[in-house]
């Protein structure tokens, strides 16, 4: 639909006082998501090569905390300068990203010398998380903000490991994800799209990684513990919040049906919480009209179904029961929804 047709339609619906179209901004070339993913992977590898090179140039660098701190400050400073000067130039921003990654590795190594993670794991991981939060605010680049969001969540996972908070972290991440995406219109209106969209993407990826990737999942594991009763509630608040927001203009019957589906799905998949996490990503992706995120949610749920088989904390019989209950819940929800839609059409 072009601008003239759209603003005529909006005028007819009473959303615009006149049918005239405002001037449409000039179109600049934009990288598709897979080109940005390519940049991210290569920039990360390039950064590791660069920090490895510094290790070769300055012998003993990795045993010298002040030297590492100085190098980190220089590399991150160069990245910041390049980002602020380079604009959208891919060559400059890719150098900046790699420089920042190298600087972050140097900063991590310096912090490890100072804080001794063997003895102070929580403080060390929290320091890394704070560093990433500062970088999210400071670096004016979407790819960097996405990567820093994921690194910040990873640092929080390590900080929470072996503490009572580990059980609450997946819930906090999925809730934060939904909270960010439900305010999409607000952050666009406040000209904060460049900050919050990459953060939102980073949180979506983190929600999936925490539940689907086996060794990460074990760090926040609640399923084999005495708190297993928490399991069905891990992603229920996020899913309920999301569904309530998406159905705010629907009839009471549809809202009740949607919330009942969330409750039944969360209860049925209680011992397989990756399904609820993937459902969260899937719904956000579809609601935002983003096929890549929707595909990611689908891929995440399929990956979870495959990897769930190898989890050691429950028997295959328990897993089969959880999956069968979830499957029946979905099919039952579909039948009830179809019935409600048919009844609505006839009335």
């Amino acid at each position: 639909m072009n601008a003239v047709d759209l603003f005529s339609a909006l005028h007819r619906e009473g959303l615009r006082s006149d049918a005239a179209s405002p001037s449409i901004p000039e179109r600049k070339p934009v990288s598709p998501w897979y080109a940005r993913a390519l940049l991210g992977v290569c920039g990360w590898i390039g950064g590791l090569f660069v920090i490895g090179a510094f290790g070769g140039i300055f012998v003993g660098l990795f045993n010298n905390a002040p030297g590492l701190s100085l190098l980190a400050a220089i590399l991150v400073g160069i990245a910041l300068w390049l980002y602020r000067r380079g604009g959208d130039n891919e060559v400059v921003t890719q150098f900046a990203f790699a420089s920042s990654i190298a600087g972050q590795v140097a900063a991590g190594a310096a912090l490890a010398h100072l804080l001794r993670p063997d003895n102070h794991q929580v403080v060390f991981a929290l320091a890394l998380a704070v560093l990433q939060l500062v970088l999210i605010g400071a670096m004016p680049n979407r790819l960097h903000r996405l990567a820093s969001t994921m690194f910040a969540v990873a640092a929080l996972v390590f900080a929470a490991h072996n503490t009572a908070f580990a059980r609450w972290l997946p819930m906090a991440v999925s809730l934060a994800t939904v909270a960010v995406w439900l305010r999409e219109s607000d952050w666009i209106a406040k000209r904060q799209d460049a900050l919050w969209r990459p953060v939102g993407h980073g949180l979506l990826l983190s929600t999936l990684v925490i539940e689907v990737v086996p060794w990460v999942e074990t760090l926040t594991n609640i399923h084999g513990s005495s708190r297993y009763w928490l399991s069905p509630f891990v992603h229920a608040p996020a899913l309920a919040l999301l569904v309530l927001a998406l159905t705010r203009r629907a009839t009471i019957l549809h809202r009740a049906l949607a919330i009942s589906t969330v409750a039944i799905l969360c209860a049925a998949s209680g011992l397989a919480p990756g399904l609820a996490a993937a459902a969260c990503v899937l719904l956000i992706g579809f609601a935002c009209g983003n096929r890549a995120i929707t595909g990611l949610g689908l891929l995440g749920s399929l990956a979870y179904l495959g990897l769930y088989y190898y989890r050691m904390d429950t028997t295959l019989l328990v897993k089969a029961t959880a999956l069968a209950a979830s499957g029946v819940a979905l099919l039952a929800a579909r039948s009830v929804m179809a019935l409600a839609w048919r009844r609505e059409e006839t009335t």
Partner: protein, 329 residues
């Protein structure tokens, strides 16, 4: 200006209008729906119906597989066979009753295509037939093919493609010994490249039986590029036995053919991006072989700069292609 020649609006255009305060929140939200950039009520209905149906079928199928794998002591051998076969038969009957062209029928056939594997595996485990593992996957493909053709449903074909990859990989890796020679390290990757290249040709030339969308072509493309990349790295690092590296020349040939087809004949920027990533990996391995031993970290620095430069160049190329095609959002 003639409204017919105006370009379609993109999400970025509407976001920028919202950012400039030209449209408020409610108008932005409605505009996103009217332009098809956000789903409307009918889109949600279709999406949820399909998601719940296919998701439910997949979860129930997985539950059956997990249950059989549990080897519940209370089930006899006959009972386990009866359970697997009855679920398989129920899925096929469900497809026939619902109609193969309906979403329910397609979901039931997808479940049936998946369930063939566990049934064959349990058969092999119970009767110890002595068959090689690849034979299980070949049988799975052959038995699934008629149902995949009947369903005309891309997820069914995706299962067939993945199982066929396993069959070819296992056969060439563990069984096939050309001219009485020993096992070849490169042959499985060469075979996977050929299989997936052939699949792309078939999917593109006769699209009708394979369902809608391009993701099946992209799945085969990712498998082909993965195999070709391994061949290319093997070639430049000279890891193969004498004479074996001839197979690795398939990497440049496959990259050139892929570039020609997906750039010139049928533009697919996603697969071009995967090809660019593969080329970067192979070129980096080639340069690494020469410079990795440079003293003082110079080699690593050179490699870092190379990866950064090549990836930035690839991103610029892909961005321009996407702009030409109007694909980026």
């Amino acid at each position: 200006m003639n409204a017919d020649i105006l370009p379609s609006l993109r999400q970025r255009d509407l976001n920028e209008l919202h950012e400039r305060g030209e449209i408020d929140r409610a108008t932005w939200s409605r505009a996103m729906q009217l332009t098809g950039l956000r789903p409307g009520a009918s889109d949600w209905r279709l999406f949820l119906e399909r998601l719940f149906l296919i998701g439910g079928a997949l979860l129930l199928t997985s539950a059956v597989i997990y249950f059989i794998a549990y080897n519940w002591a209370g089930l006899s051998r006959i009972a386990r066979f009866a359970l697997l076969q009855s679920v398989l038969v129920a899925a096929v009957i469900g497809a026939l009753v619902s109609g193969i062209d309906t979403p329910k029928g397609k979901a039931a056939l997808l479940a049936a295509v998946i369930l063939i594997g566990p049934l064959l595996a349990y058969f092999g485990q119970t009767y110890q037939t002595g068959a090689d593992p690849y034979q299980l996957f070949v049988s799975w493909v052959l038995l699934a093919l008629p149902w995949a053709f009947a369903a005309r449903f891309a997820p069914c074909w995706a299962v067939v493609l993945i199982v066929a990859n396993l069959a070819v990989g296992l056969w060439l890796g563990e069984v096939f010994r050309p001219l009485g020679l020993g096992f070849s390290g490169l042959l499985p990757y060469f075979g996977l490249l050929c299989l997936n290249a052939a699949a792309i040709v078939v999917f593109e030339a006769w699209p009708a039986p394979f369902g809608k969308g391009r993701w099946l072509v992209r799945l085969a493309g990712v498998f082909a590029i993965g195999a070709a990349t391994w061949l290319g790295i093997w070639l430049v690092l000279d890891l193969g036995r004498e004479g074996e590296n001839t197979l690795a020349f398939a990497h440049p040939v496959a990259m050139a053919a892929g570039w020609w087809y997906f750039r010139r004949v049928c533009l697919d920027i996603f697969l071009l991006a995967m090809g660019a990533l593969s080329a970067i990996a192979v070129v980096t391995a080639l340069v690494a072989r020469s410079v990795i031993d440079l003293a003082g970290g110079g080699g690593l620095m050179l490699l870092g700069l190379l990866v950064i430069g090549l990836s930035a160049g690839a991103a610029i190329w892909l961005k321009n292609l996407a702009h030409e095609a109007g694909e980026a959002q």
